[in-house]
């Protein structure tokens, strides 16, 4: 059994009901996807899978994900009016049910776009408000939003990982976890680096200037 670190794991979260997985976790999925995308999308297509599809509407999962995309926290009273807020903010939203295959029962695929740029982000609400982003674009991912996360899209070149970690190390930040994935050898790759503290802007700029780094996103804990 997972160890309970704190009585606040038992008493909490403070949340908008009814369900920590289908509502509070769904808000966090939206929040994380927004942070990974890097801004509020102009359009979002939300595909609900499994239990999210069959009971999501009754649990407000649809409202919750949209609220997260708008930057609301899981205890925001305005979650229930998320669709109105989306309309006012000019974010077009479409909710559909779909089969995403052999994935967790509470999974959603968010297709977020601004203009011609679209990114597919898939994640699951795994219980008690905890979430896991499993796919970002073509890459497999593993992000739970508990710690500051640096996402680096880069060319799959020798030494690239060492260069990035050297810069982080020089900034004094500590790497808590790191994962890498790639589309195929020598093509594009993705680094997911969790740090104990957020990285300073200068550090991010230095990493971004590395040859081979194509895109970089600092995702705060949500």
């Amino acid at each position: 059994m997972a160890t309970t670190r704190s009585i606040f794991d038992i008493l909490g979260p403070v949340m908008i009901g009814p369900s920590s997985s289908h509502t509070a976790g769904a808000v966090r999925l939206g929040l994380l996807a927004r942070a990974i995308f890097g801004r509020q999308p102009d359009a979002a297509v939300i595909t609900l899978h499994g239990s999210f599809a069959s009971t999501g509407r009754g649990h407000g999962t649809d409202l919750a994900i949209v609220a997260g995309l708008l930057g609301m926290r899981p205890d925001d009273h305005e979650i229930v009016r998320a669709f109105q807020h989306a309309a006012e903010a000019g974010m077009a939203v479409r909710i559909v049910n779909g089969d995403l295959g052999a994935v967790h029962a509470n999974t959603a695929l968010l297709t977020l776009s601004v203009g011609e740029t679209a990114v597919e982000i898939q994640g699951s609400s795994v219980g008690g408000g905890e979430v896991l982003i499993t796919h970002i674009g073509r890459f497999e991912a593993y992000a739970d939003g508990r710690m500051p996360l640096l996402i680096v899209e880069h060319a799959d070149l020798p030494g690239e990982i060492a260069s990035v970690t050297r810069i982080i190390s020089a900034s004094g930040a500590n790497i808590a976890q790191m994962r890498v994935s790639r589309t195929r050898r020598g093509a594009e790759a993705l680094m997911l680096i969790e740090t104990d503290t957020p990285l300073p802007a200068a550090t991010l700029a230095e990493i971004e200037s590395l040859p081979g780094v194509m895109r970089l996103r600092a995702v705060p804990a949500v």
């Binding site: 059994m1 038992i10 008493l11 909490g12 908008i16 009901g17 369900s19 509502t23 509070a24 309309a87």
Partner: protein, 294 residues
């Protein structure tokens, strides 16, 4: 980490003087936060709980499906039932919070959203009855959290993992143990209260109509409250439950593992598949939704 066994919690309570102080000392060590900061966060939780009771009792909260809402106000206004007085008020408060949860209002999961009514129903009502202040209620929340953590060290506190016994059952055990200390009971009596509450809800299945946290979840917050109150009454009278709380919690975990998937939040067994439940949700299956069409 929080105490994983009630035996350890009890030992620490003997050293520190109460379950609440033992829980606070451990939380301070684990989190690195000051005692004052931990108490301030719990005071924030208390405010959320009070607001939920108040909003629920005014009777306007309605769930999105329309299946629940308005019952807390009904209970609060009624006279002449066998539990008139503190028990009726506690049940009304518990249902109030559960209705607010079902209506996309703000609650404190305790330990879950679906079981968020029992703890405030019991603690706030008893504290109000005895004119006990916020500090005393925050102490009770500390004790409740520590008791919940003992159960959580054995099983995930979710209906999907172990049935409703791990939600309402855990909430009732937390409320019973914490309120017993709130009312002047010893740490041992709190343990008996928690055991007495949990034994009464062992095996409770998770069978939500339509898969929603509404029926029977809202009413089960009343059930959990009544069970907790009877456990507190017994424990303060000196009734001892012969199975230690750690072993009752072990039993909950093993019963949870034995429950078929159909009775663990999948809405494929129990009340969820009764003809009446099916009639309630017919046509309610979630079709694809376009925001413009709402």
């Amino acid at each position: 980490m929080a105490y994983e066994t009630f035996a350890e919690l009890l030992e620490a309570a003997c050293e520190h003087g109460s379950l609440a102080r033992a829980a606070l000392a451990q939380e301070v060590v684990e989190s690195g936060e000051s005692a004052g900061a931990v108490r301030a966060r719990l005071t924030g939780h208390l405010t959320v709980m009070r607001d939920a009771v108040e909003f629920g009792l005014n009777g306007t909260a309605r769930s999105r499906s329309g299946l629940v809402g308005g019952d807390a106000a009904r209970i609060d206004a009624a006279q002449g039932g066998p539990l008139d007085g503190v028990a009726s008020r506690a049940i009304a408060a518990a249902v109030a919070v559960a209705e607010v949860n079902a209506s996309m209002g703000r609650v404190v999961a305790a330990p879950t959203g679906g079981a968020s009514g029992v703890l405030p129903g019991v603690l706030l009502t008893l504290a109000d009855e005895r004119a006990l202040g916020d500090d005393a209620i925050v102490d009770a929340l500390l004790a409740a959290g520590a008791i919940g953590a003992v159960i959580a060290s054995r099983t995930n506190l979710s209906g999907a993992a172990a049935g409703c016994q791990a939600e309402i059952g855990a909430g009732a055990a937390m409320a019973a143990g914490a309120a017993t200390e709130l009312l002047g009971g010893t740490p041992e009596q709190s343990g008996h209260a928690a055991s007495l509450a949990l034994q009464g809800l062992l095996g409770l299945v998770c069978d939500p109509v339509g898969g929603l946290v509404e029926v029977p979840c809202v009413m089960r917050n009343a059930t959990g409250t009544a069970v907790a109150l009877s456990a507190i009454q017994m424990a303060l009278a000196g009734v001892r439950f012969p199975i230690p709380f750690d072993q009752v919690a072990d039993a909950l975990a093993s019963v949870g593992r034995a429950l078929p998937v159909s009775l663990r939040e999948t809405a494929t067994g129990g009340l969820a598949i009764t003809p009446a439940a099916r009639a309630l949700v017919s046509g309610g299956a979630d079709p694809a939704t376009d925001i413009s069409g709402r």
